[in-house]
């Protein structure tokens, strides 16, 4: 009985029980922050907003200096690319006009491709790298909701995990697992698109794992670009995710997994765009009709 009389051990045991309860609570109620958590996130986010400015200033100077070194080479390459793109702009314009015209004929105004952007800045990155979260300075007040896609100019970086009034937490693609999947697609001609899910990140090779669910006759190849697909129901279509680097069989040999190199730099994120899908999801269709 001496064991239970020892005050220190008793306190540590109580602490351990509290730990288990807290972890159980936070694993169960994910998605929504409770009231106290929101207040803490907001007030810390407010201070982070201030603290982030001088730090960004310093890191910007450092990166500017290193950018100078490569400017000349980059300039050469970009000039070359620019001349190629000029002709593409014309084609694109033509196609867009045509597309709009055809769409107006069949009376279809919104597609899964359209979205409203909300611009935000990253104010903090979780020091715990197993969690793979960043905090951005826009929240519920700016119209951000859970599960919205977050992208940079280069491509998709993750989705909104939870929100408070003035900040929200973004789960990066590197932290995705079986419970946080993104439906994705590789475009092929004649309805032969390849569909699958992004369902994880391989730490060793730093590649995303793209499980191919429906494989058409057209085989997936190295260098194919993977886009988000509207089939998941949450995300708009056509956001670049990455480029296929390698295709391997999964551990059971039933499906194949493509290793994808993310298009966006997931380690150096400053300005992001939160993507608000314009087309309404089926369950709030009536509500959406009233608005429009």
């Amino acid at each position: 009985m001496n064991f239970f009389r020892s005050k220190k051990l008793f306190v540590i045991l109580i602490g351990f029980i509290v730990l288990v309860v807290l972890i159980g609570y936070s694993l169960n109620s994910r998605g929504h922050l409770n009231f106290a958590e929101k207040i803490v996130s907001d007030s810390v986010g407010w201070v982070q907003n201030i603290a982030q400015a001088p730090v960004t200033f310093v890191t910007d100077i450092v990166s500017n200096v290193s950018d100078f070194k490569t400017t000349y080479e980059e300039n050469q390459v970009l000039r070359e690319q620019l001349s190629q793109q000029k002709s593409m702009v014309y084609d694109l314009q033509k196609l867009e006009d045509e597309n709009e015209e055809l769409r107006s004929i069949i009376d279809m105004t919104e597609t899964a491709r359209d979205y409203e952007p909300i611009y935000a800045t990253v104010i903090a990155r979780s020091p715990e790298q197993w969690v793979d979260q960043v905090t951005i300075n826009r929240g519920e007040n700016d119209g951000i909701q859970e599960n919205m896609v977050v992208r940079t100019a280069e491509g998709m970086i993750g989705k909104v995990l939870h929100t408070s009034k003035g900040t929200s937490t973004v789960q990066l693609l590197t932290g995705f697992d079986e419970f946080n999947r993104v439906s994705a697609t590789v475009l092929r001609e004649d309805d032969k698109d390849i569909f699958g899910m992004i369902e994880g990140f391989d730490e060793e090779t730093e590649m995303l794992l793209f499980r191919i669910i429906e494989e058409s006759d057209a085989d997936i190849e190295e260098g194919d670009t993977v886009y988000s697909s509207e089939l998941g129901g949450e995300f708009p279509a056509g956001i670049t995710i990455g480029e296929v680097k390698e295709v391997v069989a999964d551990q059971y040999g039933l499906t194949r997994i493509a290793m994808i190199e993310p298009a966006a730099d997931l380690f150096d994120i400053r300005n992001v765009i939160v993507v608000n899908r314009s087309i309404d999801q089926p369950e709030d269709e009536e509500e959406g009709d009233e608005e429009s």
Binding site: L19, L22, A124, Q129
Partner: protein
Amino acid sequence: MTRRVIFPLILFAVMVLSGVALELLPHQLLMGTYMIVPHWLFVMLIYIAIFYDRNDTYYAVLYALIFGLLFDIVYTGILGVYMFSYALVIYIVRGLKKMLQGNFYVLLMLSAFGIAIADVSIYAIFTVIGFTDMPIEVYLLNRLIPTILMNLLFLVLIYPFIIKPMRKWGTELT
């Protein structure tokens, strides 16, 4: 009176700064195999435990509980992980301190020991709840050792600025 306010303020500032700490590191380090976790909050708590706390006060443990919980809410979303690890290890460090003198080498030794135990405890909890499946030998080499070294560097860097006020406040504590 000011003592009551100044430590929470410093700890809060350190907690906020650790959110941008990773930006200060070169990105090659982050993208590589090594994982570096800034336990700056913990380093500050060790300073408080060794140079401020008396044998009959538990300020460091109390602050570890409060700011560990805040850290969990803001940065991980899993409540209790940092709170429990930090508070437990600070409590152990506090116990060890009684046997040793409060000088620089003891600080260095206790910090290295403390950071190691705290990070292993965090690793253990995250492994149990399935947040990471890193094998232990990879963890030891790629995360634990770089983390200890980086945080000791932080500890040594702030030592000249913090040691005098810390000692002064410590003697004023009644």
